[in-house]
């Protein structure tokens, strides 16, 4: 019925808006680190409550739609998926806040080494977030699978960073504090990519009607 379609459209817009906010938080938090910009880090931390507010709003809207519209089949899967996805997005926002926090700390100390891989990880993670949400809205299974594949790349980058940082720490104990904080940032970025992967897996559930979480990806 027409009015239900309008409400679903609104729900999609809210999810995309939340996704855009999360994406920009990730970008800005890493930027704050790389460009040593405290103001930007503080903004990321402040803006997080807006992301949380959207999370609550979307959840309430989903409950309302379930109660009033008795959605079935694809509509029902979409709405229940939306509720779970916002949890992932909200945690991604929290990760960005954590990165911003580390940035604020690292900016007080001299730079350890030029950041190359961290921005690279950030870029991939942002791309995965954006694509996962596009896949959701367009019910694009291929795109979702593509997102899932990229997770390995992020994992590899993280381990690469860890190894490099360990070598720094072994050589010079004074670097341990900074190296640890940088490794945390890498960890946060890897978690962000994991969340984006979750979102992509849920998109596949939405499209196929089968839950594939916690399974190995089928050979395609």
């Amino acid at each position: 019925m027409a009015i239900f379609d309008e409400e679903l459209m609104r729900l999609k817009e809210m999810i995309l808006k939340m996704g855009a906010m999360v994406e920009s938080s990730i970008k800005d938090s890493v930027k704050a680190l790389v460009e040593r910009n405290d103001g930007m880090a503080k903004t990321v931390i402040e803006k997080d409550h807006q992301i949380n507010a959207l999370d609550v709003q979307i959840d309430e809207e989903c409950i309302r739609l379930i109660a009033l519209m008795q959605p079935k089949a694809g509509d029902l899967r979409f709405i229940t998926t939306a509720m779970k996805i916002t949890t992932d997005l909200e945690r991604m926002g929290d990760m960005a806040v954590n990165i911003a926090g580390r940035a604020l700390e690292l900016n007080k100390e001299p730079i350890l080494k030029p950041y190359i891989d961290i921005p690279h990880m950030s870029q991939i993670s942002q791309g995965m977030t954006r694509d996962a949400l596009d896949a959701l809205v367009n019910r694009d299974k291929k795109l979702a699978m593509d997102v899932i594949m990229r997770d390995d790349e992020v994992d590899d980058l993280k381990y690469g960073i860890f190894e490099e940082l360990i070598s720094y720490m072994v050589r010079d104990p004074n670097t341990v504090s900074r190296a640890m904080k940088i490794s945390f940032v890498a960890q946060y970025l890897e978690r962000i990519a994991d969340h984006a992967t979750n979102i992509a897996e849920m998109v596949i559930y939405l499209v196929e009607g089968k839950i594939i979480r916690h399974m190995a990806l089928p050979e395609e």
């Binding site: 019925m1 009015i3 239900f4 008795q70």
Partner: protein
């Protein structure tokens, strides 16, 4: 809502002979919105609805107490000083089982106007078309207006009855379980129609299908044994009702 009311009942009581069927029902009806009444069989929702167009006056031994106020005139439409016919000229009803007259489609819609003495062919034709368009039926039957109404399908007949009720520009449109005799597709068409109609007419609908009330109404009243148990915005009633009875009914624990 208080300054945007079309009508409200105040301590409405109703008696079928000695049976006390409605007990102190006070309920507001917001202008240009859909108000739904739900509740188990025999709870009095249809009795309540039929007070609004004085249908009870047609049968003996019925008695009203209390008031139903119509705005903006501020008159009590169930007072004995008001002629039921005047009330029915302002408040129309659509019944549970489609009941078109065994006449042509055109004559069905025109009847309400003829009753008011409108005989001018041009005016009648215009109003008939306008009403049939308003009921989302015009395109389907515009080239067979003189065919018998009984030839239409159940869903079309019900939309014809809606057109017939709309022809007289009612201020309130009463629906008594309008889709309970129809198949799901016809039901869906009429629900969409009601959502569209509320922009122009205030609507009060009784339904035993609470999902329907959830889908299309703005306000919902839950009744049981002649009493109004709870009345609130529809999304509140269906997500977090205040009364346990309401919650039990909605979750299907009884009724």
């Amino acid at each position: 809502m208080s300054n945007n009311l079309k009508s409200e009942s105040r301590k409405l009581n109703f008696f079928y002979g000695n049976v006390h069927a409605l007990k102190n029902v006070s309920m507001p009806i917001e202008l240009n919105k859909v108000t739904a009444l739900i509740g188990p069989s025999g709870c009095g929702k249809t009795t309540y609805l039929r007070c609004f167009n004085r249908m009870h006056d047609l049968y003996p031994h019925n008695r009203y107490e209390g008031e139903i106020i119509l705005y903006p005139d501020n008159i009590n439409i169930i007072s004995s000083g008001i002629d039921p016919i005047e009330v029915r000229m302002r408040i129309s009803m659509v019944f549970q089982k489609p009941n078109p007259f065994p006449k042509s489609i055109y004559e069905n819609v025109a009847y309400g106007l003829r009753v008011r003495g409108v005989n001018n062919r041009k005016i009648l034709a215009e109003k008939v078309e306008k009403s049939l368009r308003g009921a989302a039926l015009w395109d389907e039957i515009k080239d067979r207006l003189d065919k018998p109404a009984f030839d239409l399908s159940g869903g079309q007949q019900q939309r014809l009855c809606i057109a017939r009720a709309l022809a007289t520009d009612p201020e309130i449109l009463l629906f008594d379980e309008p889709t309970s005799a129809l198949d799901p597709i016809a039901t869906s068409k009429i629900e969409e129609l009601i959502i569209e109609l509320k922009k122009k007419v205030t609507i009060l609908i009784v339904t035993h299908n609470m999902q329907q009330a959830a889908r299309i109404s703005d306000w919902t009243g839950f009744m049981m044994l002649g009493e109004l148990i709870e009345f609130d915005r529809t999304d509140k009633i269906f997500t977090a009702p205040s009364e346990k009875l309401t919650e039990d009914y909605i979750t299907g624990r009884f009724g």
